[in-house]
């Protein structure tokens, strides 16, 4: 090799080393930032899925400018003051222009009992009841852009607050049913939620790291696999199909009961909506 060649190789090597050092420094900062976030996302030994995610995925979640879920929050903000339905109202007509004041904390206590129907009701269903009863508007379809956006926005408004669903008193029977769903084997593969998320968290199932299934504070979330925001019930359906079980319809009683149990498993964990997962 010529001297010139050697020199340029040396320069290249130096650049590469510099880039490498910068990369190390960046990933070091990333890890330090996430260490702080991780302690926030663990309460009494209960760990959010954040702990079982890749650092790159967590980085997307942590930065509102990188987090693709924020697009749905933006759309939710726009929908908040959009008049719809025969009553000529928007959400803001009743709940005020500044949803940050009036809606903070709401997400943490759902699903709740609807005293009129005697059934459990989750956020999506509560939003649609508002639309039908108060706005005289059509309910939004499950997993539609509108319903996902509004649900994500309501979740976002409680970001950082601890999950706090009620599971005793009148709600107890629903909670017990939801818990039974979590422990019920299903599908051709004959597995229950608990086999992965209680018995085996922290272990790999093929390339995937199993989490504790503490998802209540994170959904709706942006899932890289979906390339969009999705609801908790969509995730339930995916899990069911993976064990070759017939899924329930989104919004089905079985799923709302299960949602209560899953949100209880997330008790105390701060709301992450919109979280980002693989």
């Amino acid at each position: 090799m010529t001297r010139k060649g050697n020199k340029s190789m040396g320069a290249m090597g130096g650049l590469a080393a510099l880039a490498g050092a910068a990369g190390l420094l960046l990933s070091g900062l990333l890890i330090a930032n996430q260490a702080a976030a991780k302690s926030k996302y663990e309460v009494d030994g209960r760990k959010s899925g954040y702990h079982y995610s890749n650092p790159e995925t967590n980085e997307m979640q942590d930065d509102d400018f990188l987090n693709p879920g924020m697009l749905w929050v933006q759309r939710g903000i726009a929908l908040w003051s959009k008049v719809d339905g025969a009553a000529g109202k928007s959400c803001a007509s009743c709940h005020g222009d500044d949803a940050r004041k009036t809606m903070r904390g709401v997400f943490t206590v759902y699903p709740k009992l609807n005293k009129k129907t005697g059934k459990l009701e989750n956020i999506e269903q509560r939003i649609n009841r508002c639309r039908v009863e108060n706005m005289k508007a059509k309910p939004w379809k499950w997993e539609s852009g509108e319903l996902l956006s509004m649900t994500t926005f309501i979740g976002f408004l409680s970001r950082g607050l601890p999950m706090n669903v009620k599971v005793d008193g009148e709600v107890k029977p629903f909670f017990e049913k939801g818990k039974a769903e979590y422990f019920k084997r299903r599908g051709q593969l004959d597995m229950a939620c608990k086999h992965c998320h209680i018995d085996n968290p922290g272990k790999r199932i093929r390339a995937d790291l199993l989490s504790e299934g503490r998802a209540g504070q994170a959904f709706p979330l942006y899932r890289l696999k979906w390339q969009k925001i999705g609801s908790l019930h969509r995730r339930f359906r995916g899990c069911n199909k993976q064990v070759r079980a017939k899924p329930y319809k989104p919004g089905a009683e079985e799923y709302v009961n299960l949602e209560l149990y899953v949100k209880w498993r997330s008790r105390g964990l701060p709301v992450e909506v919109p979280a980002v997962r693989r």
Partner: protein, 165 residues
Amino acid sequence: MKSIAKLALGGVIAAGLVAGPTLAGDNMKTAKLASYKVVDDIAIPEPLAGKKGDPARGEKLFVARKKGNCLACHKVEQLKQHLFHGEIGPELSDVASNMTPAEMRLRLVDPKIVNPETIMPSFHKVKGLHRVMKKFKGKPVLSAQEIEDIIAFVQTLKMPKQAKK
């Protein structure tokens, strides 16, 4: 649970609806289920439907994600050309030194007879399942032949003595 297994002891478990007349309204492919006999709650000594297993086919079925998908949960040193082995079940690299084909057969067909709490699917069972998707209804995960093929492959999984920990 022991008592349930005991019921099976010495008797023939008709796993699902065995060949022959099926229940009214259930004309599905359940005839594919082989009957078998569990001995001492731990083994099925006779090959399912008298089939002879082929280890080469068994290896393919062992790896295939829509068939055995065994690597989802088990590590196998001999298959390290396939990336990402699971950590849920025990490593199987030396399983043939520790388990007979008869014991493997029961663990594949219905492992809940050995351990009622196991996450492991019952690969040759159609009864007693909850909300099975329509397209899998009445069908076992693996046929009798496929079970025997996988057993034939798993029988080859032995580590050289010096490599054992």
